[in-house]
């Protein structure tokens, strides 16, 4: 049985290692009881630095960005072109009141010319204003798909993370560390979160090198009926490798990771155990 002291030590160690994931949600997933106090203590480290003064433009940029980016569950504002200002039309000289041919015609032509030039100048200004508006809207439109795409991607990623962390932060969750078969202190490490109520599980592995070409890592559950395949664990370079599922095989006693040939579809574990559970599962 672990003592409260060693539980605190384990909590601190998990917190320190969780920091390396750079996922602040992972850190907060270790909250609850004393672990939250440890997280608050760690975050206080930020106060060690003297306060800095951001450039005034930073505040403006943020407020501009959030006014352009709507809150996730609100519809985006519809962009509308500004309505043109009411215009005055050039005065039309009725035919009946025109002056006699020569002088009148000259004045009329002159008036029409002036009016035309004024009108042209006005419309040229309007065209310029509209062009500027169109360019602004095009710039926003070019920016918006990128933002929309990023937002969609982030939302999916966060939903997945939230599902995983619901498990990791569940009150009923139990934590089972994994170690190398030789207990190499510098080797890869893993941890399995298991929710006792549902036997949902999440496996997280770090420090494992990607399998070479033609090989893959398999998770195996050690049960009373023998090993059961838990699936392939994809390992990237310098990344946390994770796998999770809604249920665990019945009568699981432990679990381990092996390295298998990728071409033959492993149905039973090979001898090469990469990581093993540090203790038996006791759900």
């Amino acid at each position: 049985m672990t003592s409260p002291e060693s539980e605190h030590d384990q909590a601190i160690e998990r917190l320190i290692d969780a920091l390396a994931s750079t996922d602040h949600e992972t850190v907060l997933a270790h909250t609850g009881d004393d672990e939250r106090a440890h997280a608050e203590a760690l975050a206080l480290l930020a106060y060690a630095e003297p306060e800095a003064v951001p450039a005034p433009s930073t505040r403006d940029a943020i407020l501009r960005a959030v006014s352009d980016t709507p809150v996730a569950d609100r519809p985006a504002p519809v962009a509308t072109l500004p309505q043109p200002e009411p215009t005055t039309t050039a005065e039309v000289i009725p035919l009946a009141s025109r002056r006699p041919a020569s002088t009148g015609l000259t004045w009329a032509l002159a008036a029409m010319l002036v009016a035309s030039l004024a009108g042209l100048a006005f419309f040229a200004g309007q065209v310029g204003a509209h062009r500027q508006t169109i360019e602004d809207l095009q710039a926003r439109q070019a920016f918006a798909p990128d933002l929309a795409g990023r937002l969609t991607g982030l939302e999916k990623e966060l939903e997945l993370t939230r599902q995983r962390l619901d498990l990791a932060s569940s009150i009923a969750r139990q934590v089972y560390p994994m170690r190398t078969a030789s207990d190499d202190q510098r080797g890869p490490r893993g941890v399995m979160f298991v929710c006792g109520q549902h036997q949902r599980w999440l496996l997280s592995v770090k420090g494992l090198e990607p399998a070479e070409a033609g090989f893959e890592y398999h998770l195996w559950f050690d049960t009373d009926e023998g090993p059961i395949d838990g699936g392939v664990v994809q390992v990237g370079i310098n990344q946390l490798a994770e796998r999770h599922a809604m249920s665990m095989p019945l009568k699981t006693n432990g679990f381990y990771l092996t390295r298998e040939r990728a071409d033959i579809g492993a149905t039973a574990p090979s001898e090469e155990r990469v990581l093993v559970s540090d203790r038996a599962i006791d759900i």
Partner: protein, 198 residues
Amino acid sequence: MTAAQAEDRARSSQIDAALIRRVANGDQGALAELYDRFSGLLLALARRVLNSTSDAEEVLQEVFVQVWNQAKRYDGRRSSVSTWLVLITRSRAIDRLRSRQVKDRTLGALQQEKPNEHTSPEGMRSVLWGQRRKRLREALAELPDAQRHVLDLAFYSGMTQSEIADSTGIPLGTVKTRTLLAMKKLRKSLQDEIRELL
């Protein structure tokens, strides 16, 4: 900590929580107010991680846009507002740091002089934070250099304990012991501060 100080801090935490709720409801004014309250702290943290003011300013922008988008997901049971913001900022800064692949430069930066101290203009908030910073510095000063060093590496550079052991040549078991002892001492020294954040 005096009773008056504790009361001020409790009120400050309540204000922070209320601001987050307003941000979640789409109140840009609340976001601006949250920015005014925390930008100095978060910029300093980002700059410490990245050793670059321009990169830190960009991270600060990303953080507050993220806060705007995710305020509804803030859960006051898991952390205080300040811790939530600090951890978001740290995550963003570490991500950028890793993408720049400048871990070695960061280790060098840890040995450089600290940047010149700036002060922010607001009265009460600076007083409260000044007190908190003073308490933290006192707590950190009580740590042996070796313990403080590994804690710095874990927090500011996002290195795992194994990576810290590899880069410093210290055995992994020693790294773990030092971080454990450092965190325990820190928590004990700052128990008043932590209590008001819980």
